[in-house]
């Protein structure tokens, strides 16, 4: 079954590492829906969150290929784990006086914040699961979305579990055997 997979990739923070990861996925015909990169809790280790569509076999193969990169420390497919997966969106929506109240109500429903306003626009910020951002956008579309930017998902497992550069701790086995070549 083809479905979006949520991967957390821990990498050594060296120049060019992101290029290696992205180039490898391109080379193996894996499309990237979204990718976010930033520091992790460990110095020298960056955390990449990827949303990539594919079958479970495709993703397992991509995971094994990622492990072949020297700088890749840990790849975890968290798609079927209990996770919090959020993205952030900034939305500049047309908001003439007669629509403003309605838009504010919708924003409230989604816990979106007003960041900026002008006589004809509102700038909303929303953080939440991807599908909720989609819903907010669907509700706003009829007013006219002037500008939109989404960060792509970042994810973290719930509870006591912990993904680190060394592995996923606390009872949950890594999805793929560690081992690089």
């Amino acid at each position: 079954m083809n479905r979006p997979h949520l991967l957390v990739v821990m990498v050594e923070d060296h120049p060019g590492v992101l290029n290696r990861v992205v180039s490898l996925l391109r080379r193996r015909s894996i499309n990237i829906d979204s990718i976010t990169v930033g520091h992790s809790e460990q110095p020298g280790v960056s955390r990449i969150t990827l949303v990539v569509p594919g079958t479970d076999d495709d993703i397992e193969q991509a995971t094994k290929q990622l492990y072949k990169l020297l700088e890749v420390l840990k790849v975890t497919d968290v798609t079927d784990l209990p996770v919090v997966s959020h993205e952030m969106a900034l939305i500049k929506v047309s908001a003439k006086a007669q629509h403003r109240q309605e838009i504010l109500l919708i924003a409230q429903m989604f816990n979106a914040r007003v960041i900026d306003a002008s006589p004809n626009t509102l700038l909303l910020e929303m953080t939440g699961p991807e599908d909720q951002v989609d819903s907010l956008l669907a509700m706003l579309r009829s007013f006219g979305i002037r500008e939109l930017v989404r960060t792509g998902s970042i994810a973290m497992t719930r509870g006591n579990q912990q993904i680190s550069g060394k592995g996923l701790h606390n009872g949950v086995a890594p999805t793929v055997a560690v081992g690089a070549n």
């Binding site: 050594e12 290029n19 080379r27 990169l69 890749v72 081992g179 690089a180 070549n181």
Partner: protein
């Protein structure tokens, strides 16, 4: 004064066969010496036990070449950087050590690309050192600047752009470790020109511990036991012998396994030589140009044990119909190969030698006489007879057989790519490991002669032949000059059909004989050899084959034999591209 720590203490486990300085030990020096980056590069190469490098100078590496005359290794000047990369590849295959090539920035570096891709696809340990423009110029599209680390990203095991003179030695150390450990491959080290010129302290480097690189060499016992159990209970088992057996130096263990289990063995193109072909259980080449009985055996086997091969499509044919009745065991050091192309029932990740050694304790003594006899009954005897009896031309089959016999199956044979390569694979009769050097994964035309240069330099004690087509030879024949300059007794058998024969064969069989751009004019190869200062012979009759081979063997220096063969001889059998191995086309009698 501080004492430099010896490197051996923190060296990670490497492969069995490494360059001289295998355990990474370096003699302690009392204080770090101040040297130029060029000298440090040479020291670091010496520390790896490098005895020869293949290269070509140019602007960005002139400072490095300045240090070469006092380096403790020989430099072979090839006539093209691609041939330097492929000579390093041939050297590595023939010796089991890491091959080294050097090129300048820009065009020198890009000329390495095909050679590195060749080593990547065949898992050959090569380290390429390239010069780069000075650091201040990087990114400015300077003269002869190319982003060679970007370009080679997908065709190297790893690559580096060195950032400081202190980083040169540790980077080269790590490059060698990566190239030869785990699944071997090419590693490129790009060094900016100003770092060659800068001074720095030379500290013999230890291999850095890298958390993200921990090859699995020791197999999971339970997996091996499951594999052995399948073998123990199989009625029609087959072992598919791949290159990994040779890379891990497992030939001896493998022979024991084969004897103990009684299982018939088929070979991938690169697996040849892992078991003597004269062994009663050795059946020969599989796949696109595999023997009929071998591909038939694949159709019927109930257990297939692939040791050290990646299920390349040229070996499997249409995967959906590959070994349809078999439970599949796949032994590979690279976990990413498991299940990539062919569904695997029992995966075993580990070094082939270690896996086989564990397996030896689990397999029961068996024999499979009836199964072997059935396979034998599937031999294409009609083809064999037809091949024997064609007196009018020097027959490729006869030439290849004669080459194997005349050299007592002990010479190193490299090949180019095309029909001659497949005839050689089918009929040389490979008896010893690491004597068969051929471009399998990339199918790189031009490979024959440069790989023979590398092989002869690495193994001067062995007779070295290359079997080339008239097309491929015309790509790399400038290496004749290298052979003459280096006084190399390399013997070149040109299988001359006046065609890009393999392409012509496909046009013949699959494109209604539309011979588009395959007729290829060539020079008089005998005169050409003489012009280079080599020796040339021509063979136009069957009866001249053996005597000429003998004459060539007795001649010092490089020798070219121009074997003029029937222009339209085809390689049989052939599995049409995309078809199942069971749909192989046998020979056409009108051809004979």
């Amino acid at each position: 004064m501080s004492t430099t720590k010896t490197a051996s203490s923190s060296v990670l486990p490497g492969k069995a066969v490494t360059n001289g300085n295998s355990n990474g030990t370096v003699s302690p020096r009392t204080s770090p010496e101040t040297l130029t980056g060029s000298q440090i590069t040479c020291r670091a190469l010496e520390a790896e036990g490098v005895d020869v490098v293949f290269g070509y100078p140019g602007g960005a590496v002139i400072p490095l070449y300045d240090a070469l005359p006092s380096a403790g290794f020989h430099h072979v000047l090839t006539r093209f950087e691609q041939w330097a990369a492929l000579a390093a590849d041939g050297y590595a295959r023939a010796t089991g050590k890491v091959g080294v090539c050097i090129a300048t920035s820009g065009p020198g570096a890009t000329n390495l690309v095909t050679g590195l891709a060749n080593s990547q696809l065949d898992s050959i340990p090569v380290v390429a050192i390239t010069g780069q423009v000075g650091q201040a110029m990087i990114g400015l599209d300077a003269f002869q600047e190319t982003d060679i680390t970007g370009i080679t990203l997908p065709i190297t095991k790893h690559n580096y752009l060195v950032q400081s003179v202190e980083d040169i030695a540790p980077t080269i150390r790590e490059a060698f470790y990566l190239a030869r450990s785990g699944r071997p491959g090419p590693v490129l080290v790009d060094i900016p020109k100003n770092l060659f010129q800068a001074s720095g302290k030379y500290v013999p480097a230890a291999v850095r511990e890298r958390r993200g690189y921990q090859p699995t060499t020791t197999p999971n016992q339970r997996q091996v036991r499951m594999a052995a159990e399948l073998l123990n209970n199989a009625k029609r088992p087959l072992i598919m012998a791949g290159h990994g057996i040779l890379i891990s130096g497992a030939e001896d263990s493998f022979a024991k396994l084969v004897d103990q289990t009684g299982v018939p063995v088929i070979f991938t193109l690169l697996g040849q030589g892992s078991l003597p072909e004269s062994h009663p259980q050795a059946l020969g080449l599989m796949g696109m140009h595999g023997h009929r009985h071998v591909n038939r055996a694949l159709e019927e086997c109930d257990v297939l044990v692939n040791i050290g091969a990646r299920f390349d499509d040229r070996a499997t044919g249409k995967v959906a119909e590959f070994a349809p009745k078999a439970k599949v065991v796949h032994v590979d050091i690279d976990p990413a190969e498991i299940g990539k192309n062919v569904h695997t029932d029992v995966p075993v990740v580990g070094d082939a030698r270690q896996v086989i050694n564990v397996m030896l304790q689990e397999v029961e003594p068996r024999s499979h006489d009836a199964w072997l006899a059935w396979i034998d009954s599937q031999r294409d005897t009609a083809l064999e007879a037809a091949l024997e009896d064609r007196p009018d031309w020097p027959e490729p089959y006869t030439i290849i057989k004669a080459l194997g016999q005349a050299t007592s199956h002990d010479a190193i044979f490299t090949t180019d790519v095309g029909q001659h390569q497949m005839w050689a694979a089918q009929h040389l009769g490979l008896e010893r490991p690491n004597r068969w050097l051929t471009s399998g994964g990339l199918g790189t035309m031009g490979y024959g002669l440069p790989s023979a240069v590398g092989a002869k330099i690495g193994r001067p004690d062995l007779e070295v032949w290359t079997i080339v087509g008239d097309g491929g030879f015309q790509m790399s024949l400038n290496e004749l000059a290298t052979c003459v300059q280096e006084k190399l007794d390399v013997r070149i058998a040109v299988i001359n059909n006046g065609y890009l024969g393999m392409v012509r064969q496909w046009q013949d069989l699959f494109h209604a004989k539309n011979y588009s751009e395959v007729e290829i004019y060539g020079p008089d190869f005998v005169k050409l050899a003489e012009a280079y200062g080599a020796t040339g012979f021509r063979v136009t009759k069957d009866s001249e084959i053996l005597p000429t081979i003998q004459k060539a063997r007795e001649t010092a220096g490089p020798v070219v034999i121009d074997f003029v063969i029937e222009p339209e001889a085809n390689v049989w059998p052939i599995v049409p591209p995309g078809a199942s191995n069971s749909d192989m086309m046998l020979h056409r009698f009108e051809d004979h």
